[in-house]
């Protein structure tokens, strides 16, 4: 466990020193301040919309951060050539994959906490409110969604370079967000092969909508029933385990390119 934590610690130091989180935090602060001060669409005074848009931004920024950080960790080790001295130590490839994922997930979750705190500061300053229990549930599920995104990007990055892994992860996660919840409606009007293909797609892509509690938080719909909450949590954890297993299987016998490390 010490080895996994040490590798995760290196990921933390890298992300913090690259200042990715600060940039997104400042950007979010600016967007929220603009939203409040300019009274966009006349909604400046409606706090629930500020909260809703703020939460949308936390999803957007956490998505960018999770995919970017996770997709670059393993390929970067190869390009930099540090994978050789790292694996020359008593570190297994499974520990390397788990350490990288843990580092990426935990640092993005910490950033997520800052994003939520910033949104809540703005909302409270405008006289708004969100139930702490609903907020806590929303944050926990959001954190699990971030873990799934990180595991997906990491699985792709075991066999692709950073750019390709990040692009593919963005496409898959965006499709999961935007298309998957609408697939049942399409299946209802299709038949035969089309319906079967849509059903396969529906089952294959991750269902990020189960982790999304923005409406419940913004419009005070009350907490998610605990059964549904734990089901979503279990689904997310199962997805993470599945994706990390795929990542490890793809990575355990991978031959690293010396050309990448020596820029030949």
């Amino acid at each position: 466990m010490t080895k996994i934590l040490t590798i995760a610690h290196i990921v933390w130091l890298e992300v913090i020193r690259r200042k990715d989180v600060y940039v997104l935090l400042v950007l979010m602060g600016c967007l929220l301040a603009t939203l409040v001060s300019l009274n966009v669409f006349g909604l400046g005074g409606v706090v629930s919309y500020i909260l809703h848009i703020g939460l949308l931004m936390t999803w957007l920024f956490a998505w960018i951060l999770a995919v970017n950080v996770s997709a670059r960790e393993l390929p970067q080790e190869e390009v930099r050539g540090t994978v050789f001295p790292l694996l020359a130590k008593p570190v297994t490839r499974l520990e390397l994959v788990l350490g990288k994922w843990l580092g990426a997930w935990s640092v993005v979750t910490a950033a997520l906490l800052l994003f939520y705190a910033l949104v809540m500061v703005v909302v409270l300053a405008r006289g708004g409110y969100a139930r702490p229990l609903v907020l806590a549930q929303g944050f926990a599920l959001h954190s699990v969604a971030v873990g799934v995104m990180a595991a997906l990007a990491m699985a792709f990055s075991t066999r692709m370079n950073h750019d390709a892994a990040a692009s593919l992860s963005y496409v898959v996660t965006a499709a999961s967000f935007l298309v998957v919840p609408r697939i049942p409606a399409f299946i209802a009007i299709e038949s035969g092969l089309h319906a079967n293909l849509l059903m396969a797609l529906y089952n294959l892509l991750p269902h990020f909508e189960v982790f999304d509690m923005r409406r419940r938080i913004s419009f005070d719909y009350g907490p998610t029933p605990w059964i549904a909450f734990f089901e979503a949590l279990a689904y997310g954890l199962a997805l993470i385990v599945f994706l990390l297993t795929l990542a490890w299987l793809a990575y355990r016998h991978k031959r690293f390119s010396r050309a990448a490390a020596t820029n030949l």
Binding site: T82, P85, L87, A88, P90, V91, R255, F256, A261, T262
Partner: protein, 228 residues
């Protein structure tokens, strides 16, 4: 055997080396001879098509086999966002070191490699020579019995080369086994107890430099003759 468009390429062929404990063993060969591939097989990065590599009695694929070795890769880059001190602490933790033992070992290695004064600066601000010494320091933090160095002086100026040479001599005086590859024949001649020459994946010479080279012949001429 590696697959290629021209068919399978035999990168190494029946290679057996005799490296005694406490020796500095030089591993020579032209580019593409298979030196780094040998080291990668030894470290378990790639599997040999036949035969197996064992270190201290354990299969190199098992992480425990790497507990007593230190490795410096041919690539000089490292985690530039860390300081030299942080790099060594992280490396020590990967070897299971902690507490007082880790702190004293880190300081010892910083002193040995001569980077104590810049230990708390980011590696990104180091010169090439200092970066190489930081890399060498991470290879020594676990106090290894076997140190594998892949072209440790590559790209260094004469002063940097001399400093690395001094560290290798120091390791020998402490009874460590050093296995290193280099293109610098004069350097190999200076520090190695024994050497081996590899060409096209085959061992073409092995022994003490003084025994291999004919009277009046330089190591360079000998090298050119046997790899031709």
């Amino acid at each position: 055997m590696f697959p290629s468009r021209q068919g399978a390429v035999r990168a190494l062929d029946g290679l057996t080396l005799d490296v005694k404990p406490g020796q500095v063993f030089g591993f020579l060969g032209p580019n593409g001879a298979g030196k780094t591939t040998t080291m990668h097989v030894l470290l378990g990065f790639i599997n040999a098509t036949s035969g197996d590599a064992r270190l201290f009695g354990a299969n190199v694929r098992e992480s425990i086999a790497r507990q007593r070795i230190g490795y410096l890769s041919e690539n000089p880059d490292t985690y530039r966002f860390l300081s030299g001190h942080e790099l060594l602490v992280m490396t020590g933790r990967l070897f299971g070191l902690g507490g007082k033992r880790l702190r004293s070992r880190v300081q010892e290695v910083l002193d040995l490699t001569g980077i104590s004064a810049v230990a708390h600066r980011r590696i990104a601000t180091y010169s090439r020579g200092m970066m190489q010494r930081a890399n060498l320091a991470q290879a020594l933090v676990n106090d290894p019995d076997l140190v594998i160095l892949d072209e440790p002086t590559g790209g260094l100026d004469p002063i940097g080369r001399m400093e690395i040479r001094k560290i290798i001599m120091d390791l020998r005086s402490r009874g460590k086994t050093v296995f290193f590859s280099s293109h610098e024949l004069s350097e190999v001649e200076l520090v190695c107890d024994r050497l081996a020459i590899l060409a096209r994946g085959r061992l073409v010479a092995e022994g003490k430099a003084a025994e291999l080279v004919a009277p009046g012949e330089s190591l360079e001429k000998y090298f050119m003759r046997v790899v031709a």
